[in-house]
Symmetry: C2
Subunit: 595 residues, 2 copies
């Protein structure tokens, strides 16, 4: 199937005199996850992970992806004719390095300018002097016959009792930021920033309650480019009340061409190349982070209180799930898909549950060594009463977005599995119990999660934590926890009260097992004294960490203390929502342990 | 005295129509410590600390310094008419902010362009548009009648058995770096980089065995601008053999003016404004870190082995000192100066000792709360058999530079002192025992030293670690350990095998006590596996950490283990060089303790 598609694409490339075709993973808005309409990279390579870039030339078909996906990609690319390029590994060129050595002066590189951000486009232009860019065609789209339609789900209004702040207040703040940097116009295409600002939600990207749209803001005007079929009268009238003018979704490109003499604030790494190209000639561009991003990251007190509620609900669902799993394993048939469905049904029982916040990672045994493995009807494992099962999942609730990973012992474990599980949970607990001075960024704290691994010569090939939205995208900047600065991720902001960040160390042993323990945590203020403002985290995720997989001999006394304190809180917060059997079980599984 | 000097300076300023005078702490080479000739800032303000900047206008006389010196500066500035500006404190403008608000268009700012680096000069020019710079006069120099002469100490050659690499090999590496960045000329004015490159040493800055000089390098030529009286025949002939042409020290400014059409690599933040101004008009400047700096920081195997030896010698001296101190306190009179002299005499007994690597900080009781306190004949404390005494000192040896701090219980301590001492030593030991992946920089690891303080709502107002030279400056970049990135310090390099870094957490309670425990540590490779190259530290400092001040109830079991392991090594390495009484004492003071 993939070879045929590559063949068709290469024919197209010949027709258009194109030497190489770049196919990134993006929609017109630089979204991390994309709707089915936009899955060109998956269509042309067969690799379905959330991150990757394909390059196709007459001779080569290459796919770059990161450490989370090495195992999955290797599996999915087998016999496709597509070569896996492991990002960050020694000796593996980057996409740009590859293009530099293969695409020479006078040749043509094609990409859909709407799915490549302007920063990347500019970098490519600099690194490939004399190479022509063909960016007005969607080559993969031209060969994709049964392509799904563009999503157009209904838009709805997020009540202020959930949002905690009115859209007009948010617009005022953004306009203040525009003024401060001397911008007359702000062009915004990041979907989560747009819907956050307007207090609307939709469903145009699976698991991300966003609305396909562009926004152009001035001090007096607010132009929203959106599929009008997605708007009912209530939403239209609400937007009208905010002073928002409605335009057809696609008309943003012609509207942009008419702007001139403006000073436009936009974030080049988050606005597509085609749109930037149509703005930059007649206007002055200020390239800066969308002002909405750092504002959105700092949850307000109403959001914080709601987030706690959402996580209790979610914690009840996941706790019931683990109880069900551990008491029924070996007694009834279970596979990765069926238990994932069971978890979904338990979340559905929770009031205000709107859907998943990302596709559930339900992985048994060696499958869990693939960080972002997802079972499919064709390819999934049966669960047996032995070894470890990992589930990374989350829900969208009116009260916020959840994201939790638990790894569960389904039966006897090896000593190595116990050590790895214990070390992982130590990392989660140590980081979540950090106290630090205001001014710290993620890399100051990452060692807390990773130190126990590094001491043993172990590591995990992913970040330790990411920001999480409020009833929005499960991955949100500018807060994050990692040990290396990755400038383009822009996730190294100073940790501020109200930021919601994940805490998810793990360990992945190919062919054997995978473990991750993930809680979300709110950043909070601790005491302020002559040394400054101290900060701490507050776990909002409450689900037991499987004591069957803990061996306290690997822990310090302090680690044991943190585990027991966490479990005490889990029992207090979750037990009121359980039936008697579940409650007895939880009592046992949150008991204080000793070293 | 200071008011009279300020009066004289203001008269000069009037004479030259100058509205403000900037007096930084520097020599012509941006050295951290400066010889007596260059102490203009101390002369005009009375503040003798190693870091600070003065600004004098018709109305104001202001001194900026950092947290290490707040207490000392406040004391020394009393009744001088000079106001202390505490850098980094809320509401305190920076030097630049102050100048921006007080020195308006059309006014004139004076500074000696030879003691202001070009980066600062350029920043000031940008931030003070329309302000005239008078940079060709040395205003403080003009009123300083009894100014000391410029140092001109003999230059000597550092044998390759100490340096581990020939000067010609080093010159070849630097020329390779020049070629790589397309520079035809490299202008170098940093004294430690110059003497490192040429394998020479001198004594032109107290405690820093450097030689006042400038160096201009091309692929074929090497021009050294140096006071010829400092050179004997042997050194002349050695330099000649390296292809080094000798020029008078001051002639660098006229020589520089004659260069044209060259591409010159220089580091603007390390080359003075006057020199840069005379180069920039007719040449292309490449602003980059001196290639010598990162090369110098990575000690070669010969240097590493020598460093271990130097630290044993130094450790013997400091251990004997602590034994003497603890056994004689209360029996013979002791004051901060006399015990400092005693320590000096014990270092002098060590073979190959060349002098101190910085002025000894010898501080008893509340004086130790002033991080960089130095006793003077006029102002110093008597030591009593109670409380804590802090000594931060180091030596220059043929085998390297040492820097060690120990805090010693002279008698009964308060519980708070014990807790603070224990927490400090935990920080030192935790950091020194870190294991981490190659790629880590200081801020990844700082939490190890600071975490136990932060947990208690405590902090220390200085970096945790700095690079240390080899028989060179005690403060060296580009390695360092701190929690906040301070770009201008350029001390956040990836930690490489061979880098020598200090590990010196502390705690300072104004009016009560000050504690610091400082070891130097070499960065070493640990195992390499599928996760990457692991790194660790190797302590090279071996002197007991005073068990009389340790309360293990504050420690984790792991902390106790680290302390006992360190003390075991101290005994093994130091005891062979002690007499029987000292050895018995050391046995007792390095005994394994229990929680």
């Amino acid at each position: 199937m993939i070879p045929e598609r590559l063949h068709a694409l290469r024919a197209k490339m010949k027709e258009y005199h194109v030497d190489a075709c770049l196919v990134p993973t993006s929609d017109f808005h630089e979204s991390e996850y994309v709707g089915p309409y936009f899955k060109c990279r998956a269509y042309i390579t067969g690799f379905t992970g959330s991150a990757g870039t394909a390059v196709i030339t007459g001779e080569d078909a290459l796919l770059w992806t990161d450490g989370r996906y090495f195992v999955q990609a290797a599996k999915q690319l087998r016999d496709t004719g597509v070569t896996l390029m492991k990002m960050g590994e020694e000796g593996v060129p980057t996409v740009e390095e590859y293009l530099q050595s293969h695409i020479k002066e006078g040749m043509t590189l094609a990409f859909d300018g709407r799915v490549v951000n302007d920063s990347l486009g500019e970098t490519l232009a600099k690194k490939l002097p004399g190479v022509a860019f063909s960016y007005d065609k969607d080559l993969v789209g031209e060969i994709w016959n049964d392509r799904p339609a563009l999503s157009c789900e209904p838009v709805w209004i997020l009540d202020e009792k959930y949002a905690g702040e009115s859209a007009s207040s948010k617009l005022q703040k953004i306009r203040g930021k525009m003024e401060a940097c001397g911008a007359s116009v702000h062009v915004l295409t990041a979907l989560d920033d747009i819907v956050w600002m307007l207090n609307i939600r939709g469903n145009d990207i699976p698991c991300n309650p966003v609305v396909l749209s562009y926004l152009i803001l001035t001090q007096k005007e607010c132009h929203l480019f959106i599929q009008e079929a997605a708007l009912n009268d209530e939403v239209r009238s609400y937007l009208d009340g905010l002073g928002v003018a409605i335009h057809p979704y696609d008309s943003v490109y012609t509207y942009a061409k008419e702007l001139h003499g403006e000073t436009i604030l936009l974030e080049k790494s988050h606005v597509n190349y085609t749109l930037c190209k149509s703005l930059e000639e007649q206007n002055t561009l200020i390239d800066g982070m969308n002002p909405a991003s750092p504002l959105k990251a700092v949850k307000n007190p109403v959001e914080m209180e709601n987030i706690r509620k959402a996580h209790i609900k979610d914690g009840v669902a996941v706790t019931k799930f683990i109880y069900w799993l551990k008491t029924n394993i070996g007694k009834i048939p279970m596979d990765e898909l069926s238990v994932s469905d069971k978890l979904y049904s338990l979340r559905q029982e929770q009031e205000g549950f709107l859907g998943l916040s990302f596709d559930t990672i339900s992985a048994y045994g060696p499958n869990a060594a693939m960080c972002h493995y997802q079972p499919t009807p064709e390819d999934h494992a049966q669960l047996k009463p032995e070894g470890l099962y990992l589930v990374d999942s989350g829900g969208q609730y009116y009260e916020g977005t959840t994201d939790i990973t638990r790894t569960v012992a389904l039966g006897p474990l090896t000593q190595e599995e116990k050590e790895h599980f214990t070390v992982t949970s130590m990392g989660t607990l140590r980081l979540g119990n950090a106290k630090f001075l205001h001014g710290c960024i993620g890399i100051n704290l990452d060692y807390l999660a990773r130190g126990a691994f590094w001491e043993r010569g172990l590591d995990f090939n992913h970040g330790t934590g990411h920001g999480v939205g409020y009833l929005l995208n499960v991955h949100e900047r500018p807060n994050g926890i990692r040990w290396r600065i990755v400038p383009e991720r822009m996730d190294n902001a100073v940790l501020e009260e109200g930021m919601l960040t994940s805490d998810e160390p793990g360990i992945y042993i190919e062919g054997s097992h995978g473990i991750r323990t993930e809680n979300l945590m709110l950043c909070r203020k601790a005491e302020k004294n002559q040394y400054g403002q101290f900060m701490r985290f507050e776990f909002v995720t409450f689900v037991p960490i499987d004591l069957d997989a803990i061996d306290t001999s690997y822990m310090t006394e302090k680690d044991v203390e943190l585990l027991n304190a966490y479990h005490k809180e889990v029992y207090e917060k979750i037990s009121p929502y359980l039936n008697e059997e579940e409650r007895d079980w939880l009592k046992e599984y949150t008991r204080a342990v000793e070293k």
